[in-house]
């Protein structure tokens, strides 16, 4: 006799749960599709190999800053990064991170025209948390 209302409650909880799962799934799918949510993360060799970035697309490229290639003109900085086998010239009008220097490992986000990588952001690998890679 108590069964009917109990079933009804159970159904309510089930529907509630289904709604939550559905909303969450939708939220994640929407978030993944937003611009800037995901981008390719390449080494300099891979970037050179893939060639120019499709227009409007952004990729990330990582490498270490080559000594002697850093040139500043006002807010614009040019430098080259390498993964040890090939190098890419980077140009950015954005401020560089505090830890930026020759030899630093950086990640640049932006687009590649085949010659120069135009970075909309340059990050240095977080200096606090990571061990030097080789010693």
């Amino acid at each position: 006799m108590d069964h009917a209302p109990h079933r009804k409650r159970q159904a309510k909880f089930l529907i509630g749960g289904a709604v939550i799962v559905f909303v969450l799934g939708g939220l994640m799918a929407w978030a993944m599709a937003r611009p800037g949510s995901t981008s390719y993360y390449l080494t300099t060799s891979e970037l050179v190999q893939r060639g120019p970035t499709a227009s409007g697309g952004e990729v990330k490229v990582s490498g270490s800053v080559i000594d002697g290639t850093i040139h500043r003109r006002g807010l614009v900085t040019n430098f080259a990064i390498t993964d040890g086998t090939s190098h890419v010239s980077v140009e950015t009008g954005q401020p560089l991170p505090s830890a930026f220097k020759a030899g630093a490992n950086v990640v640049a986000r932006g687009s590649f025209d085949g010659q120069t990588f135009h970075a909309s952001e340059v990050l240095a690998k977080c200096p606090s948390k990571f061990q030097p890679k080789s010693q």
Partner: protein, 665 residues
């Protein structure tokens, strides 16, 4: 014989005693001989003593500049001194693991000792689990991450400590995070003990309640201090970037927060037993996973996956904890059945459940974004990175829903509530939330996220204040107290409840501070002496550079005059320095902070030939409230931690009468 030479033998001794502890406890548990298990617990205390000796030994080597130890040479230098020696101790992997092992063995020994008096039946298995976990961390220190490796040849000076770490924030941030992560081992071990013994009442979490709260508080404050460090040291104007390393600490925080709330349902209504065991298991595994992510190098660059020196040790351990834990839960599934059912959708239980679902959903989505690059690379061979837009998009809606539930939850009564009484109790908070939206819209606040955040904070704050008023009114009416003393007595007499509300208020202040980011402005320019730059309502005038030199660094200080509406406000001195030992340039940020907004100025470079400075300036509204909110949370945590553990499952009626009864006891 120097103290440093004692380090390695101490760690080996600690390792042996941890093996003895785990073996004795497990044997005592299986053979039901508590005496043997007590000996195991004491053996773990001996292990703790040896780890402490090893830590003192390494510390002595640091203070004595003993560069014959490779770790000391790699993380400090002769010019380093004072408290930053401690920062140096845990700035590398080996030292971090040593700190972890120290906290683990010390916490375990104390928790087991306390539990022998309070809840002896769970001690043998809990001791076996804690001993087993200690074996793992000590094995790391003995084999792949030995902090006492000798350097050859012995260098004249060390490499020095990364200059970014030479900051008060980094002195306390890592130990707080580790205290949090390690602290969760205690409730985890007792949950496992409850499963092994089949004693699945609420004893396992009431015995360890203080440890859970302590660990959670340390983790919470540790995360905020990490953000404060990033804000004041790194010079990019923000405090949280959804970096995998940050996420690694935030994900277990979310599941731990869910756990803190859901145990209340088990305590009051004997429900959600499986869920609670699963949550603490998940929290523990995620906190180990976080350490694995940050320390294995897997995230600094994804293709260093296999190069991580301790990564291959962590993965089997993680798998054992997760699969073993889940298997034990499945084995006990019958005994974990709820003793009650949900009576109504509109009940405190349902509200708690929804709160839990939201926290776990937040944890899951952030975990997804964090490990998606690894999954994508494994499946498709291409490396991806997941950026802040993803995390903001998923977390902001879930976070706002959590804020809403923080307000609604405490207003709903246990078991069921009529719609009429719910409407009555919720009308003032609704009024406050609605009024906030209207007022802000009139002031042309256009950011939807910020509008919702402020409005929901007003809703929830009103609900919480209402709870305080209702509580205090009882003391006013019964004892004729003034509002002030009545308020203090309310909080002190029911610390668990009102301490929780104080924590909630702190969270709301943090949310307000975070929402302020919607209105942040940023400007940058290369400035010659005399140039002006306007940002927000401020006008910055660059008045030139001064140079000086110390033993460690070359100092370049910019002088920047700040006016607002033509009136001089302050003069700021951001620096761009060069540290000789590390060959490292570093910006020192200048921040003028007020409750309304921060003016944040950083010089990213000086021109070598002229005095021109590349200046970046931010106006960050309401950021001050984040730090104030964290302080309020800390006060609430103090109230919670000072409350005594609940005696037994109390009747589920948070009425004035029960409130009085608790007050007397």
């Amino acid at each position: 014989m120097s103290l440093a030479s004692l380090g390695r033998p101490s760690l080996i001794a600690a390792f042996v005693f941890a093996i003895a502890a785990a073996t004795l406890c497990a044997y005592g548990a299986i053979k039901r001989k508590p005496g043997i298990a007590w000996a195991g617990a004491r053996s773990l205390a001996v292990a703790a003593g040896f780890v402490a000796l090893a830590t003192v030994s390494l510390m002595t080597a640091f203070f004595g500049h003993d560069f014959s130890l490779a770790y000391v040479a790699a993380h400090s230098s002769r010019s380093l001194s004072g408290p930053y020696m401690f920062t140096a101790l845990w700035s590398g992997m080996e030292g971090s693991l040593l700190l972890w092992a120290l906290l683990l063995t010390v916490f375990s020994s104390i928790a087991l000792r306390q539990a022998i008096h309070k809840n002896p039946r769970l001690v043998p298995w809990a001791g076996a689990v804690l001993g087993g976990v200690s074996i793992f961390f000590l094995a790391l220190l003995v084999i792949p991450a030995n902090p006492f490796i000798r350097s050859a040849p012995i260098p004249a000076d060390g490499l020095g400590l990364n200059t970014f770490l030479q900051s008060p924030g980094m002195l306390i941030h890592p130990p707080l995070l580790y205290t949090g992560f390690v602290g969760f081992s205690i409730p985890f071990a007792f949950a496992m003990a409850a499963l092994f013994t089949g004693r699945l009442d609420e004893a396992w979490f009431t015995t360890t309640r203080r440890w859970t709260l302590f660990a959670w508080s340390a983790l919470s404050i540790g995360i905020v201090i990490g953000g404060a460090w990033a804000y004041t040291e790194l010079g990019w104007g923000g405090y949280w970037a959804w970096d995998p390393v940050e996420n690694a600490s935030f994900i277990p925080w979310l599941t731990a927060t869910a756990f803190l709330h859901s145990v209340v349902i088990q305590e009051k209504r004997r429900m959600l037993k499986v869920w609670n065991v699963a949550l603490i298991l998940l929290t523990y595994v995620l906190s180990i996973f976080g350490t694995f992510l940050t320390r294995s190098g897997i995230l600094s660059s994804i293709h260093t996956f296999s190069e991580g020196p301790i990564g291959k040790w962590f993965l089997p351990f993680l798998a054992l904890m997760l699969i073993g834990g889940l298997a034990v839960v499945a084995w006990r599934a019958d005994a974990l059945r709820s003793e009650n059912r949900f009576d109504s959708l509109l009940s405190r239980e349902s509200a708690f459940l929804l709160n839990n679902v939201l926290f776990v959903a937040a944890a899951f989505t952030i975990l997804w974004g964090t490990i998606y690059p690894i999954i994508a690379e494994a499946l498709t061979g291409t490396r991806l990175s997941v950026g802040p837009p993803f995390f903001d998009s998923v977390f902001i809606p879930i976070g706002l829903a959590i804020v809403l539930m923080t307000g609604i939850g405490p207003l709903i009564s246990w078991r069921r509530m009529s719609k009429g009484s719910f409407t009555r109790i919720v009308r003032y908070p609704l009024l406050a939330g609605g009024a906030t939206i209207v007022v802000l819209a009139l002031f042309r606040v256009r950011s939807l996220g910020a509008l919702l955040a402020f409005s929901l904070c007003a809703f929830t704050a009103t609900a919480i204040v209402g709870e305080f008023v209702r509580g205090s009114r009882i003391y006013r009416n019964r004892h004729g107290l003034a509002w002030g003393p009545a308020f203090v007595r309310t909080v002190l007499r029911n610390r668990r409840r009102y301490g929780g509300y104080v924590v909630h208020l702190g969270v709301l202040l943090i949310v307000i501070g975070l929402a302020g980011q919607a209105f942040r402005t940023e400007r940058q320019a290369v400035m010659q002496t005399g140039d002006k730059l306007s940002v927000g309502n401020y006008v910055l005038t660059y008045e030139g550079r001064t140079q000086s030199q110390t033993a460690e660094k070359q100092v370049n200080t910019a002088t920047i005059d700040v006016t607002r509406g033509g009136k001089h406000i302050t003069t700021m001195h951001p620096q761009r320095n060069f540290h000789f030992a590390q060959q490292q340039p570093q910006s020192e940020v200048a921040i003028r902070t007020t409750p309304l907004e921060d003016l944040y100025v950083v010089v990213t470079s000086f021109d070598a030939s002229s005095n021109a400075a590349a200046v970046r300036a931010f106006v960050n509204p309401l950021t001050w409230w984040i730090w104030v909110g964290a302080f309020v949370m800390l006060c609430g945590m103090g109230v919670l931690l000072s409350s005594s553990a609940p005696v037994a499952a109390a009747a589920p009626a948070p009425s004035a009468r029960r409130f009085e009864k608790v007050a007397i006891s």
